[in-house]
């Protein structure tokens, strides 16, 4: 039995000590925002924070965590850096299939928290462990810079900041609510990424 500090809550889990945190989160705690991609720390889809540091949960034995604070995509928006990163992700409209994006956002948030104004080299170093098969890298880089500087980097989508999102329910066909948006487009598009 382990008591984990997950997103500010104590969670008791009765699992083997060598079980990776990823599967504890997904299959035991029920937080499925953290994704399985490779199982060998090659793709970064499973990235979470341990005391604010980005780690690959697919190879992190739950028995090694102790009382360190675990933060997942479900709560990273409650940190200042996470909030900035998620807002920039929306302004630049980074996502495509979206499967890797939890991990990308966790890595980017950890980067921004320790390096408020990351250079291209800093971004390369922090983000090269996260694979995106849709290859949204161009916009990921732009969003990180935008989160850091507050300045629009590339084409901005027309939509105001989003207040909340909805969780899909298993077994129903419906999911993915459209985000609330202003009645009138509130931002002006630039001509392109160049």
């Amino acid at each position: 039995m382990f008591v984990l500090q997950v997103n500010g809550e104590a969670r008791s889990v009765d699992v083997p000590a060598d079980m990776p945190l990823l599967w504890v989160l997904r299959d035991v705690v029920g937080l499925t925002g953290t994704k399985f991609g490779c199982g060998i720390a090659q793709c970064g889809a499973c990235t979470v924070h341990l005391d604010g540091q980005a780690v690959r949960s697919c190879v992190l034995p739950v028995g090694s965590i102790g009382s360190r604070a675990i933060t997942t995509i479900e709560a990273v928006g409650q940190t200042p850096s996470g909030q900035k990163i998620q807002a920039a992700w929306l302004d630049v409209d980074v996502v495509q299939c979206g499967y890797c994006q939890s991990g990308q956002i966790m890595s980017a948030t950890a980067l921004l928290a320790r390096t408020p104004n990351p250079s291209d080299g800093d971004i390369d170093a922090a983000m090269s462990g996260n694979i995106c098969r849709c290859a949204t890298y161009v916009r990921i880089r732009a969003a990180i810079k935008q989160a850091a500087t507050g300045k629009a980097e590339v084409l901005q989508v027309i939509a105001p900041p989003v207040a909340a999102s909805r969780v899909g329910t298993p077994g129903t066909a419906a999911s993915g609510a459209a985000a609330p948006r202003a009645a009138v487009p509130s931002a002006t598009a630039t001509a392109g990424a160049t």
Partner: protein
């Protein structure tokens, strides 16, 4: 095929090959399918016989004028998406097309996955409820706008009747009908009941493009927020009460079988519940994935490796080359005749097998009970999944309920049903809902791969070096022949295999393009992979065009320009890309080169110029990618940019790193360490320059991928003088000299000192 209603496409099915081949990808095949007899249903802007039941099952809204629009009394507008969302942005595009004519804001809608229903959601270009072949926007551009207009017209009519006014005196904005003279208003919610009782109008007017309020705007994706907050439910995230989790291992060799197992150690693993067997695979079921995985790792399995146990890539390659010489080809297209004179240029190109490696590994959740089979999966072919599940369980299709999910990438892999079939077979053996998750290793080793190809291409040049004839003999397996055999041509031709080589953008009067079908050994299945035929053929054709330019002693840009004089739309793209990258404007550093590729895949037109640097050690640094695109109307310019950027990098990733090889009858690669992908530190700046016009939309999701490899190969040639005729790039051929291997790459690249990748910099 009356349902074929897409602007640029032929209005009748008896189109000549010239025209039809311009459609692109999977499309071609299914046009033929549709002509071959069975009239397939296709989506319709108006109510169909099956609509009443579908709407009843979807909350029974008072207003459901067609299969896509549901409006409840509270005014909530629900839009049912005929295609599936796997990253390509089609949910947003489809919502924009519907909402444009429905006159609602994109913020006022909620999207729903469509249930499996061929009658209501069949893609006219594919003859089934299928998402693929970059067809979604092309196939739905008119019908979804019309569906929106039908609904809007009914709402206006209902309001006008209530006010006893002429409908033409009413206007609509954001779901509210206004009578202009009196200022009276009624919302869609208040009108839903009365509008729902009206007959569906037969004729409706569509907006002129100058009046669009949504189409053409860079709107945020409708699925963005949930994906950013981690709340999107992908197939792998489904949690059904009582569900157990399994992971599987299929026989490593193609077509091998399970002989037996010893599960003593497995049963001792904490959390293991069951061990299940099929002819060619085993599954271990656990309380959670980790228990299942530990249990599977502990399982002693005996396989019969079967007839392919000694198969290697080299053997496959050799057989393919032999077939190219020895087998009888099918003529795909012949025009003019081969002149007697001219300088002959010949080359052999080879393309590798490829895995898809979607970020979300394959998975399916299935619950089989005595009278029902329920499935949760993200699939590109929902109705095919229902059909296979019905067959396996013996239940009628009506008793198979499939809940489609967001797809964590598709790239063609989820056009297959193999993993769903396997999951149903396993789930049939247990009483609880079963989620089957493939490990990444299983996902790559049991991919249904893009086929390998062997191409012998040649041309005759006149005294000025201009091609007066070209010939290409494509040899490979057939995806279409397995996946939709009824779509093969009468003479046995697989039109996908020759797409973008049977037709080229250039003015070359004489040509002969042939295809040799060479099936892979039984058990080695080949499948659709992003960009399908064009990805393979454009690599060959556009690399070879560069060879011709070099042979003729001409600049690759000028050489292509001369051949595009009768094709102004594509010529404009060549010129635009050249201008933006500054072609020949200034000398490039040593071992830096630029490569051009031009193509017309999937009903769009594209020119890509890559600037790459090749280190003395042979390592490649991508410096810049400039894309010029003409895709007709861009529904959402932000999505267009995202798709082009992502697809070009996906294609470059494959060209630089990807190749599936076989040893002892099994795929050698297994995970991202040996099946590599481009990473953040490797990407170039990617710029899109679009020529805007009012032409109907072309396909988009695969365009960038199809054009990537030849531009890279041509850039490498320009940088090094080494012509690469096979993929992935063999860096050992690019080593400058033996001394270079004693130095490190980082210190030798031209741009080593500057910040890497200016992807986000403004130019």
């Amino acid at each position: 095929m009356k349902a074929l209603r897409v602007g640029p496409l032929p209005q009748a099915v008896d189109v000549g090959r010239r025209r039809a081949l311009k459609l692109g990808g999977l499309t071609i095949a299914f046009l033929w399918t549709a002509t071959s007899g069975t009239a397939s249903a296709a989506i319709n802007a108006r109510r169909q016989p099956g609509d009443a039941a579908a709407a009843a099952a979807d909350g029974n809204p008072p207003f459901a004028p067609n299969a896509f629009i549901r409006i409840d009394v509270d005014g909530l507008v629900r839009l049912v998406m005929p295609n599936v969302e796997m990253g390509q942005g089609i949910y947003t595009g489809a919502c924009m097309m519907l909402a444009e004519e429905l006159n609602v804001g994109i913020d006022q809608i909620k999207v729903e996955h469509a249930p499996p229903n061929e009658e209501l959601y069949s893609m006219p270009l594919l003859g089934g409820q299928i998402t693929g072949g970059s067809t979604s926007t092309r196939g739905h551009w008119e019908v979804l706008r019309e569906a929106g207009a039908v609904a809007r017209t009914m709402m206006v009519t209902a309001a006008a009747q209530r006010w006893h006014v002429d409908p033409s005196t009413c206007s609509v904005a954001r779901g509210v009908v206004t009578h202009q003279a009196s200022g009276r208003t009624l919302g869609y919610g208040a009108l839903a009941k009365s509008a729902g009782a009206l007959p569906v109008p037969l004729k409706v007017a569509l907006k002129e493009s100058k009046n669009f309020t949504l189409i053409g705007k860079p709107l945020r994706r409708v699925d963005s927020a949930d994906k950013v907050y981690g709340t999107t439910q992908f197939g792998i995230d489904v949690r059904v009460p009582g569900m157990k989790i399994a992971t599987v291992k299929a026989c490593p060799t193609f077509g091998g079988r399970l002989v037996g197992i010893d599960d003593k150690r497995t049963r001792a693993v904490r959390g293991v519940i069951d061990v299940l067997m099929l002819d060619g695979a085993v599954a271990v079921v656990g309380d959670h994935f980790w228990a299942a995985k530990q249990g599977l790792d502990a399982l002693d399995i005996e396989w019969d490796l079967g007839d392919n146990a000694e198969l290697t890539t080299a053997k496959l390659r050799e057989a393919l080359a032999d077939a190219s010489q020895g087998s009888t080809p099918i003529v795909a297209r012949e025009a003019g005749k081969k002149p007697a004179d001219g300088k002959l240029v010949e080359a052999i190109y080879q393309s590798p097998m490829l895995a898809h490696a979607t970020m979300e590994p394959l998975n399916t959740t299935v619950w089989v009970t005595a009278d029902k089979c329920e499935i949760w999966v993200g699939t590109q072919v929902p109705t095919r999944c229902v059909a296979v599940a019905a067959k396996i369980t013996g239940l009628p299709e009506a008793k198979v309920e499939l809940h489609n999910q967001y797809l964590g990438g598709g790239f063609g892999r989820r056009l297959e049903t193999d993993s769903v079939e396997q999951a149903v077979h396993f789930a049939k053996q247990v009483k609880y809902p079963l989620k089957v998750i493939w490990t990444r290793e299983e996902d790559i080793r049991h991919d249904i791969v893009r086929p390998m190809y062997h191409d012998r291409i040649s041309a005759l040049l006149d005294a000025n070096g201009r091609p007066i004839w070209y010939g290409d003999r494509v040899t490979g397996g057939t995806v279409l022949g397995r996946w939709a055999p009824m779509a093969m041509e009468k003479n046995g031709l697989d039109t996908d295999a020759v797409e973008c080589v049977a037709e080229v953008p250039y003015d070359i009067p004489n040509l002969k393009v042939e295809w040799v079908r060479h099936d892979m050994p039984e058990g080695l299945l080949v499948g659709w992979w992003r960009g399908v035929g064009p990805t393979h053929n454009l690599f060959v054709v556009e690399s070879f065009m560069d060879e011709l330019a070099h042979t003729a002693g001409k600049d690759p840009l000028e050489y292509r320009r001369a051949l595009l004089q009768k094709n102004p739309r594509t010529l404009a793209l060549l010129d635009l890309a050249a201008e933006k990258i500054g072609w020949n404007a200034a000398p490039l550093p040593a071992r830096v080169g630029r490569g051009i590729a031009v193509g017309e895949p999937f009903g769009s037109r594209v020119c890509l110029i890559i600037e790459a640097e090749v280190a003395p050690q042979g390592e490649i640094r991508l410096r810049r990618a400039v894309v010029a695109l003409d895709c007709g109307v861009a529904i959402n310019p932000s999505s267009v940019e995202a798709q082009i950027q992502g697809a070009v990098l996906f294609g470059l990733s494959a060209a630089l790193y990807s190749g599936i090889t076989i040893k002892r009858g099994a795929i050698e690669q297994s995970n991202f360490h040996d099946y590599r992908s481009l990473r953040m530190n490797e990407i170039p700046r990617v710029e899109l320059h679009r020529i805007a016009n009012d032409e109907p939309p072309g396909g988009l999701g695969e365009v960038g991928t199809a054009i990537a490899a030849p531009a890279l190969g041509n850039a490498i040639f320009a940088a090094t003088g080494v012509r690469l005729r096979s993929l992935p790039v063999d860096r050992s051929l690019l080593v400058q000299n033996a001394a270079a291997l004693k130095t490190v790459v980082a210190g030798t690249l031209d741009g080593a000192g500057e910040p890497a990748n200016g992807a986000a910099r403004r130019v």
